[in-house]
């Protein structure tokens, strides 16, 4: 194996693996500290997330959201942009989905309405990213700052929309009326039941197929089209992009729109997939989780699928821990996530010099 290939393996596989293991080790220490047997906790977590079909359903349902936001962050990253606004783009994307679901004639067929709703999410997510993108490209405002600010704006906008515009008359809580049944995405357990298999009910719905489809699409787009090439070239070298006749400003705007659109798909899973209405904070945490997922997944769709699954496991398994153990609260999930982000993101290259020294030394 050439040194290049070895380095690729170290970067692509070993490094994330070591990082995750370290994060788990650190979690084990935390468990010991609060008087929980880490082995027992691990068993509960794994069983809770993967051991029975309801748990697995929940795990995959959480993972679906992380795939969308992970892809969003990754696409922007390839253009050299750090999109922290996934949270807001997912939120406003949800508005787009809800508007289609609530106001387009429900007599239309699901084959029209559901794609329309998905497009609504894509469009509104993209729209929410376009202003920060424009400001970055043409005015030099840093995208990290503007997208963070847009998260807050999204929050305010959605509260306004839900309290003053979409709330049902006579209803106290800030949420929309239920969507007509025709735009609901079928639950996986219902689909299975249709084929005669009975599995436990879970929120897992066909959005997972949408997530897989978009993973494939992103992969194809980034590595097998000239636009993806232009995006990656811009991300690696602005000068080389200009030299190649690529306009980096346009690339910034287009890429952020794609990124925002992908984040806008969270609502597909949450709204037309599970809750069937628009409500406050349905997006909570997935936008930021997407950053960790993209980091861990090395901004590659395959890596993102794996990382999203891991985060799904943590979400679902963590909930089980809370349920099963007296002295563990749901917050342990946040601790675990934090450690994963710390070791996979902040300390990403911790083991790199060591691994290179042993596995791919410089040949003299």
């Amino acid at each position: 194996m050439t040194r290049d290939r070895r380095l690729a393996w170290i970067n692509g596989l070993l490094l994330p693996l070591f990082n995750v293991l370290t994060a788990f080790l650190a979690t084990a220490v935390v468990f010991l500290f609060i008087g929980v047997d880490p082995i027992k906790a691990t068993k509960i977590l794994i069983y809770g997330a993967l051991g029975y079909d309801e748990g697995l359903g929940y795990t995959l349902y959480y993972a679906t959201n992380f795939v969308f936001t992970g892809l969003a962050v990754a696409v922007a990253f390839h253009a050299g942009l750090f999109n922290i606004g996934g949270e807001g783009q997912a939120y406003v994307g949800g508005l787009g989905i809800a508007l289609v679901a609530l106001y387009i004639n429900p007599a239309l067929s699901a084959w029209i309405l559901i794609p329309l709703a998905i497009s609504g999410g894509l469009l509104f997510g993209a729209l929410w990213a376009i202003i920060p993108a424009y400001l970055q490209a043409y005015r030099g405002s840093h995208i990290v700052i503007t997208t963070i600010m847009f998260n807050f704006l999204a929050s305010a906008l959605m509260v306004y929309m839900l309290v003053h515009v979409l709330r049902e008359v006579g209803q106290m809580s800030p949420e929309s009326r239920n969507f007509p049944e025709v735009v609901w995405l079928p639950f996986v357990h219902d689909v299975f039941a249709g084929f005669g298999y009975n599995i436990a009910k879970s929120p897992l719905n066909l959005s997972i197929l949408v997530a897989l489809f978009f993973s494939l699409l992103v992969w194809f787009f980034l590595w097998h089209t000239r636009w993806g090439f232009a995006i990656r070239a811009t991300g690696k070298s602005n000068d080389a992009a200009i030299y190649s006749g690529i306009n980096p400003k346009k690339i910034i705007v287009v890429t952020m729109c794609i990124s925002g659109a992908l984040a806008g798909l969270v609502g597909v899973n949450e709204l037309i997939g599970v809750q069937h209405r628009l409500f406050l904070n349905f997006n909570y945490g997935y936008g930021f989780g997407g950053i960790a997922v993209a980091l861990m997944g090395r901004n590659h769709p395959v890596g993102i699928l794996i990382a999203a699954l891991l985060f799904g496991i943590l979400y679902q398994g963590g909930a089980e821990l809370d349920f099963e153990l007296q002295n563990v609260s749901r917050d342990i999930v946040v601790v675990m996530q934090g450690l994963v982000i710390l070791f996979c993101g902040g300390l990403e290259y911790l083991y790199r010099p060591l691994l290179i020294r042993f596995l791919a030394p410089i040949e003299t």
């Binding site: 590595w223 000239r226 070239a233 690696k236 080389a240 030299y243 190649s244 006749g245 690529i246 003299t364």
Partner: protein
């Protein structure tokens, strides 16, 4: 330690970078109070050697003595304490700090800065008087000219107690007048007992200023000479390792119609500073037009405008039937489609993407070509096959389209870029610094290919800081100074002295302008 006879002594210093043997058992001894030149081509190992002395790298083996003391430096602080100061080719100054602040950077001494600033002010005033290094102390460095910034670097070294000053290619960015000023400072420093090591590849400088000279070639120290007992011819031969200086056999140019006509160009660079004004010329088919000049006199900006990267502020360019003007610009893609190829000056940042594979780098600028795009689908197998075939045509080694661009040597990277630009059969070629920093073998290959393109009837515009390169392959030469054309000559009648005068805008007829600039 002041009275030691030998300031720096290197014994069998050896340094590898991966497979590259950058310094191969190098021996050098520099006498105290002399100016010692080190010459060698790009990549001969000069800079590595000096970086070892300055603590940036550690030698793999060998011994270093500074004023007879054994010396191992692991960082620049230790080197400074031993009395070594370095002026890098690219200045290490904080642009928005004042001169005074820059000088005390790294030797602030204490939590409060006022005291050390005052101390430094007194000391610097003394140094400036002693060595003739007058600089205004309270001006931000960014407002100083390049020559002045260099003085600040020298002052910085002296303030930190340097007894030995290493200067890496100090005149590369200077005008001839600034260079003369620098040499005058060298003499003053020498009188005060400061030892100067001058790294350069310009033989003229070596001959005019140094006492001793050492020649490096391919990582080895090949000769030591007393400057008064050698001559440029001998040094050149030692540097290159063979007698004939890249003498490329070429036929007479058969120049045809002008393919590119530039009239009255005025161009601002990316920062909006006017770098080119009133430039007019034409490039004819079957001819190589060389553009000579000291780095930073507008050639780079001109090149970018010709390639569609920078817009024109005034004037127009007629190129292959299209006209570019301030109102109507063509982007690099449109120019490529017209048949204009561009080999950029900055190979690493613009010519390719070091993280991309060779085949992806070989796609830059041609990513929209119809042959490789099937609808939305970019056919990677075709891209790879294309890359492999152009790699073979230009002898790029290793012939592996999947290898990362950064893993090729400079010469092979450049060959890959040339292959990409030449193989699409362009009509006009805009080539910047085609052989900067690459090995002799590749240089010869590349120059031959450029001449082949000329013979095939292309119009070629060549920009190079190497006068020797311009003179050896161009048919016509225009010289730029301060953004303007200061002379046009036929290559056949060109001699280095006249071109040098033009580069400094110092030909007798232009005397008034020169004086006005001073």
């Amino acid at each position: 330690m002041k009275n030691s006879h030998i300031a720096i002594e290197l014994i069998d210093v050896d340094k590898h970078f991966g497979a590259v043997h950058a310094n191969d058992k190098v021996n050098l001894s520099v006498k105290t109070g002399t100016i010692h030149g080190i010459v060698g081509e790009n990549g001969a190992g000069k800079s590595t050697l000096m970086s070892i002395l300055y603590g940036f790298y550690q030698a793999d083996s060998g011994q270093i003595k500074v004023f007879d003391q054994d010396f191992i430096s692991t960082n620049s602080r230790q080197s400074i304490e031993a009395g070594i100061g370095m002026v890098h080719q690219h200045f290490m100054l904080v642009e928005n700090f004042t001169v005074l602040e820059n000088v005390i950077l790294g030797s602030e001494g204490g939590a409060l800065i006022t005291e050390s600033l005052e101390k430094a002010r007194i000391e610097l005033t003394r140094l400036a008087k002693e060595y003739g290094l007058e600089v205004e102390l309270d001006v931000a460095v960014e407002e100083l000219s390049v020559g002045m910034q260099q003085r600040v670097e020298i002052l910085k070294g002296l303030y930190k107690g340097a007894k030995v000053l290493i200067l890496d290619e100090p005149t590369g960015v200077l005008t001839p007048q600034e260079s003369d000023e620098l040499f005058r400072i060298f003499e003053a420093l020498k009188k005060q007992g400061v030892t100067i090591i001058l790294i350069t590849h310009k033989l003229r400088e070596i001959m005019s200023i140094t006492d001793y000279v050492s020649v490096m070639r391919a990582g080895k120290m090949v000769a030591h000479r007393q400057t008064s007992e050698t001559n440029p011819e001998e040094l050149a031969e030692l540097m290159i390792g063979r007698k004939v200086l890249l003498n490329i056999v070429r036929t007479e140019a058969k120049s045809g119609d002008p393919l590119l006509i530039a009239s009255n160009l005025e161009i601002h660079n990316e920062q909006g500073i006017k770098r080119v004004s009133e430039v007019s010329f034409e490039a004819r088919s079957g001819e190589i037009l060389g553009i000579a000049g000291v780095t930073g006199n507008g050639q780079g900006t001109l090149l970018k405008a010709l390639a569609g990267i920078l817009p024109l502020s005034k004037g127009s360019i007629e190129i292959l039937g299209e006209t570019i003007s301030p109102k109507k610009s063509l982007n690099p893609q449109e120019l490529r489609n017209l048949g204009v190829a561009h080999v950029p000056e900055d190979r690493q940042r613009m010519g390719l993407i070091s993280d991309f594979s060779a085949s992806e780098s070989a796609l830059l600028g041609y990513q929209n070509d119809k042959e490789i795009n099937q609808g939305v689908w970019l056919k990677r197998s075709l891209v790879k096959a294309n890359c492999e075939s152009i790699m073979e045509a230009f002898d790029v080694r290793p012939t592996n389209p999947d290898l990362k661009s950064s893993n090729f040597s400079g010469g092979n990277q450049q060959k890959l870029i040339l292959a990409r630009e030449f193989e699409r059969n362009p009509q006009v070629l805009i080539i910047g610094q085609p052989t900067r920093g690459i090995d002799i073998g590749a240089i010869e290959f590349i120059r031959k290919r450029i001449i082949e393109m000329r013979d095939a009837g292309k119009a070629i515009i060549l920009i190079s800081v190497e006068l020797e390169e311009i003179m050896s392959i161009s048919d016509r030469i225009i010289v730029m100074c301060d953004g303007e054309i200061t002379g046009t000559v036929d290559a056949a009648n060109a001699d280095e002295a006249t071109l040098g005068m033009m580069m400094a805008n110092a030909l007798p007829s232009d005397k008034q302008i020169t004086e006005a600039q001073l």
